[in-house]
């Protein structure tokens, strides 16, 4: 049974939803750990599946994979979690970096990694929130353009254009071969 069939059957047979949990919990947890850190990821990953279960009747009739839908919920919860923390920690002039991602504290202690993290933080802070959401689903969750479009309920062309913008912003951080590839932004371009 594909995800779509499982989701639809779980409307009448709630226990069937366990299959969705088994298939996706580890991946959703990992994505959330990268967004909000492992401590909050535990609660949020659990919330994702409770929210998905409660809204299972709204799952798209023609969808085959539940992945994009679950990642969409996870992205929303991560964003809300970050806003909530940011509001609590907000301080003029020296707010914690609002980059929407959780860097590995062990790597942050290493000089070369710390430098890369600092540069990345700086660039992420300059990105628009909705561009970052696309970036994180692409880079952390390894979703395709079409899957990101489904997760965020936006056109595929919008995903392309947002990633294209992001690619331009991150050019200085790309490995050399990436910079060469990035110059051909038409490849990733698209109307928004």
């Amino acid at each position: 049974m594909n995800d779509g069939e499982v989701m639809r059957s779980s409307v009448d047979d709630p226990a069937a939803f366990h299959m969705v949990f088994d298939r996706y919990h580890a991946r959703i947890f990992s994505y959330l750990a990268g967004r909000v850190g492992p401590t909050d990821a535990e609660d949020l990953a659990s919330e994702v599946f409770v929210a998905a279960f409660r809204q299972r009747a709204k799952f798209r009739e023609d969808a085959v994979s539940a992945g994009p839908w679950l990642y969409g919920i996870a992205a929303n919860l991560a964003r809300r979690n970050y806003r909530s923390r940011a509001r609590r920690r907000r301080a003029h002039g020296r707010a914690p970096a609002d980059d929407g991602i959780w860097f590995d504290p062990d790597r942050d202690a290493q000089i070369d990694a710390a430098r890369r993290i600092e540069l990345l933080r700086s660039e992420l802070n300059r990105l628009r929130e909705k561009d970052r959401e696309v970036l994180f689903l692409y880079a952390l969750a390894d979703l395709s353009y079409a899957e990101i479009a489904e997760a965020l309920d936006i056109p595929v062309g919008t995903v392309r254009s947002r990633l294209s913008r992001t690619r331009e912003r991150l050019r200085n951080l790309l490995p050399d071969e990436g910079k060469d590839k990035g110059e051909g932004t038409a490849e990733y371009g698209g109307g928004e």
């Binding site: 580890a26 659990s46 279960f53 907000r90 301080a91 071969e177």
Partner: protein
């Protein structure tokens, strides 16, 4: 999910903590889900058998809704917001001459915290930081002038640590800064909200349901109402009236205040702030006057006392001015 590698993906390699859940974490999440699933009855009726009672329920609900909507059946609480809505409908829309700016003042008192190293000291303090911002909006551009007030502390120890470590300089206490932002996007402002209360209620509910946050739906609706009525969007009277009508249908506590103002509030459980009361206050013309969130129990970490309003925002009514920096005549 794609296996394609891309340099943009490589940027994050090794920097982000994307660990897998432990078996215990997986089991804990599974048990939470099991509890929710077990509390949900299985539905195994044939579809047709489900549809007939559903249709009957829908008809009954429609009849009840029509009867309830009749003016003679309005609750007193619903009537407060309804009266303001009616008044708002009679007001002429504000004129916004070509090239003019929307001016308003926003006063905030927001919970602020620090748990990061300041100099050689690691601090963990919370306090309320007030500021006053004058705004000049035109489309997606805003010029603002913000003055930061004196913080309000929850303990003398926090206050001493705050000033000893120079955090007042970081917070720019007593200072005023001016900034201009362009390209400020807001999907709420870009949405074509209906001025028909029934249609608007559907739009707002759909938008609130799309928010996967854990707050009750009425709280999400209140949040959305506050965003629609944010002075920067200069909602026309018909939209202000419709929003108030929609709020009047929610399960809120309402009260009439001095000066023809009305408050609408609700209480809910928040993961961080404990028991929270959220309150919106409107003036007699339907403008949003203030929005406040108060923890009646104190936060769950025990760092904020019961009764603390951790987010209070008050607005002056929006008016049209000719240019940034220009204030309306008194």
């Amino acid at each position: 999910m794609t296996a394609e590698r891309d340099p943009v993906r490589d940027i994050f390699d090794g920097l982000v903590d994307m660990r897998q859940p432990t078996p215990g974490q997986t089991e804990s999440a599974r048990q939470t889900l099991v509890a929710v699933i077990q509390s949900t009855p299985a539905r195994r009726q044939p579809r047709l058998r489900r549809l007939v009672p559903a249709a009957a329920v829908a008809v009954i609900a429609l009849v009840i809704a029509l009867v309830a909507a009749a003016p003679w059946n309005r609750t007193p609480a619903e009537a407060f917001l309804g009266e303001i809505a009616e008044a708002a409908r009679t007001i002429a829309p504000q004129e916004m001459p070509e090239g003019s700016y929307i001016y308003f003042v926003r006063n905030e008192v927001i919970l602020t915290g620090k748990d990061e190293p300041i100099g050689n000291t690691r601090m963990d303090i919370n306090y309320l930081l007030p500021d006053r911002t004058e705004n000049w909006w035109q489309g997606q551009t805003v010029e603002s002038k913000t003055s930061v007030g004196e913080p309000i502390f929850f303990s003398p120890e926090d206050e001493a640590a705050y000033y000893d470590n120079g955090v007042d300089q970081i917070d720019a206490v007593g200072q005023t800064r001016t900034q201009t932002l362009t390209g400020v996007e807001d999907w709420v402002g870009e949405t074509d909200w209906s001025t028909d209360p029934d249609q608007l209620a559907i739009q707002m509910r759909e938008a609130a349901e799309a928010d996967h946050g854990e707050q009750p739906i009425d709280v999400k609706m209140m949040n959305l109402a506050a965003r629609i009525l944010d002075p920067k969007l200069l909602a026309p009277p018909a939209l202000r009236a419709a929003v108030l009508d929609v709020l009047g249908t929610l399960d809120l506590d309402q009260a009439r205040l001095d000066g023809g103002r009305v408050s609408a509030s609700t209480t809910y459980e928040d993961r961080y702030y404990g028991t929270v009361t959220m309150e919106l206050v409107f003036d007699g013309d339907g403008y949003l006057v203030s929005r406040q969130e108060t923890t009646t129990t104190g936060d769950r970490e025990g760092s904020i006392p019961p009764g603390t309003s951790y987010a209070t925002i008050t607005y002056s009514p929006p008016v049209s001015v000719s240019a940034p920096g220009v204030r309306p005549s008194p």
